[in-house]
């Protein structure tokens, strides 16, 4: 059964190829696209059962398809590696992808790029699965770039509006900045350890590098560079809000559930490296902590429903990074899973709302949709609660509380991280309920023009179920991940705080956020408005709204100088040198041409002068 592994990415890839090259009627397109992902999901489930039923040796299975290249001692393979970590990721990705594909068949029904859309989507799934299953970093990089590409293509899917294209380009370029760092990281790893096979790397790293070795730190930081790019973490987070220009299912699939968590996966996958490089791991935690705060504040100020969700995603991935940074590996993965469920659901439900209101994105023009779109409301509410961390019931609460506790008590935890994480919970709760209250409560501002069909509702309902149930697997989950990601709950962290205590505090903070949101955005909106009425408040609002001015900064510091340098040298200044030589020759031609005056006596004088000069030369030189 495990032998079917290669089919998991191969089927979507084949389907993408077919959709790109051949032309089918719409129904067939939808059928091919969805069934290919369904097939992948089913195979992934089969593989899971097989894996659980008869675990392979070492609790890991490698399937080599072929040797990619053999150049000197560099011999990467096209090979897939299955262990509990990749298994969980694959199953979640395949399954969520399936649901979102199903949703898309209806959501995109009216679009003239139907086939193109699904080709891109299938290609994305194939790349994502390749990324997860890769047994070496080069193949992982292939998937990594592949998902980046699909992200670019899908953000700019509605290419007629140049804004969308620019957003896609920004996303691709910003993530590629990170990718370049990662690429250099690969060179470093190969240079020092002589392989890019992940498992070999993990074995060799402790042999070659002592704890805290400079090379290990450098490698960890370079890979972190790739991770922050892909996962939209500080300082490369600026692309994700703009990426919301893509169709909503794309936001759900790529920019919430799957691709953006690739960075988390990468760091988890190479966790041995980070264990060897405490400064790098600390950087991961700091990045996560800083991002979750910054994005949380930004989320508070957005008026675009999808941008709120985008900042929320950044913030949640910040949690995952924090978990990785402090060493609470399985917590990060669990949060990835629950986040995949509830954030995908939030986007899908938001998509229902947006489509129902005729492409209205502004939450201040929504309101009172509770009655008109009940399914959307209830599923959005469930997902929102999960996101904000409604204790005991929702999946999100389980994973987040785990991270919170880990932030304090895990190997590298500290009180500071715990407090930051706690503030994050307050912010999350606040912006989540702000969103819910503004969209579904209060007065109606817009007419509902379209009711969702079953293809859109069923995925929402399934995901709503998962957003609640997904958290109950925490203990078997940790156990299952044991071989891939060791988790020592009793690790002597810096701060001793009981798990129950931490959870209780978190629950209270959640409630505080809920109440605050209720007061500010449902009971007395004027009070919220008065906060931004004064100059300082308005400035702060603008500052947060513009993502802490990072876009502005990058534009001035990097984009404009580059464009300026390119523009002034458009005509290639080097060519001026050659033109100068040509001009010089022409000048010489003109001057010499004067000697050809056509005058006989001048010519004779030339002869006389020449002979006199030569006589002088022979006599005096």
């Amino acid at each position: 059964m495990l032998g079917l592994l290669w089919l998991i990415p191969a089927i979507p890839f084949a389907s993408a190829l077919a959709l790109a090259v051949l032309r089918f009627p719409r129904k067939v397109v939808a059928w091919i696209a969805v069934s290919s992902i369904a097939a992948s999901s089913i195979i992934s489930l089969l593989v899971t059962f097989s894996f659980l039923h008869a675990p392979p040796a070492g609790n890991a299975y490698t399937e080599v398809l072929w040797t990619w290249m053999r150049v000197g001692d560099f011999r990467p393979e096209i090979a897939f590696y299955l262990d509990p970590l990749s298994l969980i990721m694959v199953v979640v990705v395949a399954f969520v992808s399936f649901l979102i594909h199903l949703y898309s068949t209806e959501f995109m029904a009216g679009d003239d790029g139907y086939s193109r859309f699904f080709a891109y989507m299938n290609l994305f799934v194939a790349s994502m699965l390749t990324l997860l299953l890769a047994n070496n970093l080069l193949l992982l990089y292939l998937g990594w770039e592949g998902v980046g590409l699909c992200s670019y293509l899908l953000i700019g899917f509605w290419y007629r509006d140049p804004e969308n294209g620019l957003a896609g380009r920004k996303a691709f370029i910003v993530t590629r900045v990170g990718d370049t760092a990662m690429l250099i990281g690969l060179f470093l790893l190969f240079h020092d350890l002589g392989t890019l096979n992940i498992q070999e790397l993990m074995q060799r790293a402790p042999q070659h590098w002592h704890l805290g070795a400079g090379a290990a730190v450098a490698a960890g930081l370079l890979l972190l560079g790739g991770a922050v790019g892909k996962s939209a973490q500080l300082p490369l987070q600026t692309w994700l809000p703009d990426a919301m220009a893509g169709p909503t299912p794309v936001s759900a699939l790529i920019h919430a559930a799957t691709m953006v968590t690739a960075g988390v996966y990468l760091i988890a996958r190479t966790h041995v490296l980070y264990s060897l490089a405490p400064p790098a791991q600390f950087a991961v935690a700091v990045v996560g902590a800083a991002t979750l705060l910054i994005a949380g504040f930004s989320a508070l100020t957005q008026w675009d429903l999808k941008r709120v969700l985008a900042y929320s995603t950044i913030s949640q991935i910040g949690y995952m990074f924090l978990a990785l940074g402090v060493g609470a590996w399985p917590a990060a993965i669990l949060h990835f899973m629950t986040h995949a469920f509830f954030k995908a659901l939030l986007f899908l439900a938001a998509g229902v709302v947006i489509q129902a209101l005729h492409e209205e994105h502004n939450i201040f023009r929504m309101g009172g949709l509770r009655k008109k779109l009940p399914v959307a409301f209830w599923t959005f509410l469930i997902a929102g609660c999960s996101l904000a961390g409604l204790p005991l019931i929702t999946a999100g609460a389980f994973s987040k509380d785990w991270i919170l506790w880990g932030a304090a008590s895990a190997a590298n935890g500290s009180m500071g991280f715990w407090i930051v994480a706690l503030i994050g919970i307050l912010l999350t709760s606040l912006y989540t309920f702000r969103m819910i209250f503004l969209v579904f409560f209060g007065e109606m501002h817009s007419e509902v023009t379209k009711k969702p069909g079953m293809a859109m509702l069923i995925p929402c309902i399934v995901l709503a179920f998962l957003s609640i149930a997904g958290g109950y697997v925490k203990t078997p989950f940790a156990h299952f991940l044991e071989t891939a990601l060791p988790w020592n709950a009793a690790a002597a962290g810096a701060v001793h705080i009981s798990e129950i205590g931490s959870e209780t505090v978190a629950g209270l903070v959640f409630l505080l956020g809920l109440v605050l949101a209720y007061v500010l955005f449902l009971r007395s909106r004027s009070y919220a408005a008065s906060l931004t009425d004064n100059a300082a408040g308005a400035a702060l609002h603008r500052f947060w709204f513009s993502d802490w001015g990072m876009d502005w900064l990058y534009d001035r510091l990097l984009v404009r100088p580059y464009a300026w340098a390119a523009r002034i040298d458009k005509g290639d200044l080097i060519d001026g040198f050659y033109s100068g030589i040509a001009e010089l020759n022409v000048l010489a031609w003109r001057v010499l041409g004067l000697t050809e005056s056509g005058r006989l006596r001048w010519y004779a004088a030339g002869i006389a002068a020449g002979s006199i000069i030569y006589i002088a030369v022979v006599l005096f030189l």
């Binding site: 050809e596 005056s597 056509g598 006596r601 004088a605 006389a608």
Partner: protein, 102 residues
């Protein structure tokens, strides 16, 4: 008869040559230019004779004869061309022979 020193002969030839050259460069009339060239050739001839006398050989004088013959031929062709030139342009000004330049 005492021998004339080589230097005297050469200097005389040189002066003649220089005079011819000066005429060539200064006169605008083509006829005078031809005459100047004759003077230059004769200057060379004098030098030859002087050189021949230094070595006691007839070669110098023979060369002088060659020069005379060649000069005569050149002048005859030259005069014919001058005639043509005058017919076409009604002048013998050498500066007018500048239709081709550049």
């Amino acid at each position: 008869m005492t021998e004339v020193p080589l230097a005297y002969g050469l200097i005389l030839g040189g002066i003649l040559f220089a005079l011819g050259l000066a005429g060539l460069l200064m006169r605008r009339n083509l006829l005078f230019i031809l005459i100047s060239i004759e003077i230059m050739l004769n200057g060379a001839g004098v030098a030859f004779v002087a050189a021949g006398s230094r070595w006691g050989q007839p070669d110098g004088q023979i060369m002088f004869l060659f020069i005379l013959a060649a000069a005569a031929a050149e002048v005859s062709v030259g005069l014919a061309l001058l005639l043509r030139f005058y017919r076409q342009r009604h002048t013998l000004d050498a500066n007018r022979a500048n239709e081709m330049r550049g």
